[in-house]
């Protein structure tokens, strides 16, 4: 059946004084109903901008969607005005932000901030909205929900606030949840609880989840399918097992190798491996493959021709000249 969300050739650019920043430069991502897709990549590779572009949450100006389509249930969201998009925001697509400490309005009670999206999208009375809110808070395992619904954000811990954010995103039972690094700001123990909670919610409501993270551990634990992004482009896309078992793109390999391993005894003595250099500035991106400067297997072709996504196994695509038979390139 048709995928829930299809992003085709998305380009989001930001006009800055030094020139046009091409944060997202032609992205193709698809999410099927009920699927958990992880988008992974270093910070600055454009994954958050992609997510924000879906619901046009980026500040326009200076940002703008230069090209591409975002098809959600067969309807392209790009030409929609902000008001039209409001029907979809939170109702169809929920959003969980990265920074719980600052993503809740400090002067409104937690309950009010959840109830207001309920009242906006479903014609419910104030009383019903409050009941539904308490119900949601119980769902996300916030103790004494009836009491705490009237508390203010500063009376909750980081983990609790993220639970509130999740409750808020799920309030209207959207079909897709975009979680932008939901656990980055939390410490590890809370991280696991939040991810489990997300997983339970997904099964309970049968919704799709687009999880954005830079931690490969989170990917391994939650994702069904993975998209690896680098410098504004998708470099590899595969099922999670295939990706970890047989990473195609050198960047993906580097990412996997940089995960600290406790199960291998050899890991104790060796230094952790890291990929040298850092993400390039996307004001005037280099020609050819953007990972070339940091890639061990860089070939001449890599710096003059941009590799396109090509199928290297069923459901496994990658954008790299390595092993590209048509080229006949040397190893």
């Amino acid at each position: 059946m048709a995928p829930l969300l299809e992003i085709k050739g998305l380009k989001t650019h930001f006009s800055t004084d030094d020139g046009i920043l091409q944060a997202v430069d032609g992205i193709d991502i698809t999410i099927n109903r009920g699927e958990t897709l992880c988008v992974v990549g270093e910070s600055g590779c454009g994954k958050t901008v992609t997510a924000m572009s879906i619901l046009k949450l980026i500040a326009m100006p200076p940002g703008r969607i230069a090209a591409g389509e975002i098809i959600f249930e067969g309807r392209d969201l790009v030409p929609l005005t902000s008001n039209q998009l409001d029907e979809i925001r939170a109702k169809e697509i929920g959003f969980i932000f990265q920074e719980p400490m600052t993503s809740l309005n400090p002067v409104l009670t937690v309950g009010e901030q959840i109830a207001e999206s309920l009242r906006r999208h479903e014609n419910v009375t104030r009383k019903q909205a409050l009941e539904r809110t308490i119900e949601m808070l119980k769902l996300v395992q916030i103790p004494n929900a009836e009491g705490r619904v009237h508390n203010y954000p500063h009376q909750f811990s980081g983990g609790m606030r993220q639970r509130v954010m999740i409750a808020m995103a799920l309030a209207c039972k959207p079909k897709l949840i975009i979680a932008d690094e939901p656990t980055t700001a939390l410490d590890v123990t809370i991280q696991a609880q939040i991810l489990d909670l997300l997983q339970d919610m997904k099964e309970r409501f049968g919704m799709a989840v687009m999880l954005i993270t830079h931690a490969m551990g989170v990917v391994a634990e939650t994702a069904q399918r993975v998209v690896v992004m680098y410098a504004g482009k998708v470099v590899e896309e595969a099922d999670v097992d295939a990706l970890f078992a047989d990473p195609g793109h050198p960047y993906t390999q580097g990412l996997i190798r940089s995960i600290p391993r406790i199960d291998l005894d050899s890991a104790h003595k060796t230094r952790l491996e890291a990929i040298g250099g850092s993400v390039p500035i996307l004001i005037n991106p280099p020609v050819g493959c953007r990972f070339a400067p940091r890639c061990k297997f860089a070939m001449d072709v890599c710096t003059d021709k941009e590799p396109l996504l090509r199928q290297i196994a069923p459901g496994h695509r990658m954008a790299c000249h390595l092993g590209d038979t048509q080229l006949g390139g040397a190893a």
Partner: protein, 319 residues
């Protein structure tokens, strides 16, 4: 909360006493004489002026006059004006309505202009509207009120002859006609004063809004599909207005102080013109009464501002 308020009020009493002492000393030391008009009048022998000064205790030592004033004040006797020999409190109460009416409505007009313009300019930073609003704000507070006042009179009263420019407190009409006449004669002073205050207020509202508009929870609100207007009003303004509300509270005493210049030009019998004429004629009891009430209002509205801040921003707990 009430425990905090009580404690603050307890502190206010000694501080007001201190302020009243300093005020009294400043006024007593300032040169000048309420009976100056007698000086050049040959009909009046100099002894009369000296006798009057003695009778009103102007030549006593300062601390004596302060104690005398203080205990009279505690008995509710605010003393009488040397110039008009009228009890000071009746004099002030007589002029209060005109001040509250004109200066109060100017302050309200200022808010009615400043908040919408400031908010709208902040939502569209560096847009045409924002630039125009900014420039008009600069025009507003860079021209002194006595200049704009006279300009208004020349345009609306003299050439166009639409509006009277002498403010009178006794209007013969009643009912709706009275209200109309009251509005007609207040348009110019309120406009002059209101635009001047609106100017600096607009800039403040705009910068307060700009600080809030780019914070994360505003993006969260937009992600909830609430619509631009609701996001701005319910989420952005609700936070941005906290410093603005405190500023308004702090400017309230100025309403009582009246606007010396505007009242002078439009002949509004307000507290401002009473204050300036008393100062220039060295009528110490009146000046002392007005400035003391002003000091009480300053301390009171400081407290109100802090309480408002605590009430509006849940993060601040008033211990």
């Amino acid at each position: 909360m009430s425990q905090y308020v009580l404690r603050r009020l307890m502190i206010a009493i000694p501080s007001l006493l201190g302020i009243s002492l300093v005020l009294f000393v400043v006024l007593a030391l300032a040169p000048g004489d309420p009976f100056s008009e007698l000086a050049t009048n040959p009909n009046v022998p100099p002894e009369v002026q000296a006798a009057l000064r003695a009778r009103f205790g102007l030549d006593d030592p300062i601390y004596l006059r302060y104690l005398h004033w203080l205990n009279a004040m505690l008995h509710g006797d605010w003393g009488f004006s040397f110039v008009s020999r009228m009890d000071v409190d009746t004099l002030i109460l007589q002029r209060l309505p005109a001040t509250l009416y004109v200066i109060g409505s100017a302050q309200i007009l200022a808010l009615l202009i400043a908040i919408p313009v400031g908010v709208y300019a902040a939502t569209k930073p560096y847009s045409l509207f924002d630039q125009v609003a900014n420039t008009l704000a600069f025009v507003g507070f860079s021209l002194p009120t006595f200049f704009t006042g006279i300009l208004f009179i020349l345009i609306f009263s003299v050439t166009l002859d639409w509006l009277p420019f002498v403010y009178t407190t006794d209007i013969k009409a009643t009912g709706i006609h009275y209200v109309l006449e009251m509005i007609r004669q207040a348009i110019m002073p309120v406009a002059v004063l209101g635009l001047f205050q609106a100017a600096s207020m607009t800039r403040f509202v705009r910068s307060a809004m700009l600080d809030v508009i780019r914070l994360d929870y505003v993006t969260t609100a937009r992600a909830k599909g609430l619509g631009q207007a609701k996001v701005i009003v319910k989420h952005v303004m609700r936070n941005a207005m906290i410093p603005v509300v405190t500023l308004i509270a702090l400017q309230m005493p100025a309403v009582f102080g009246g606007a010396i210049v505007t009242e002078q030009i439009f002949r509004i019998p307000g507290i401002g013109s009473l204050l300036i004429s008393s100062i220039l004629s060295n009528d110490t009891p009146v000046v002392m009464a007005v400035t003391f009430v002003f000091a009480c209002l300053v301390v009171l509205f400081n407290l109100i501002a802090d309480v408002l801040y605590g009430w509006l921003d849940p993060r601040i707990s008033l211990r």
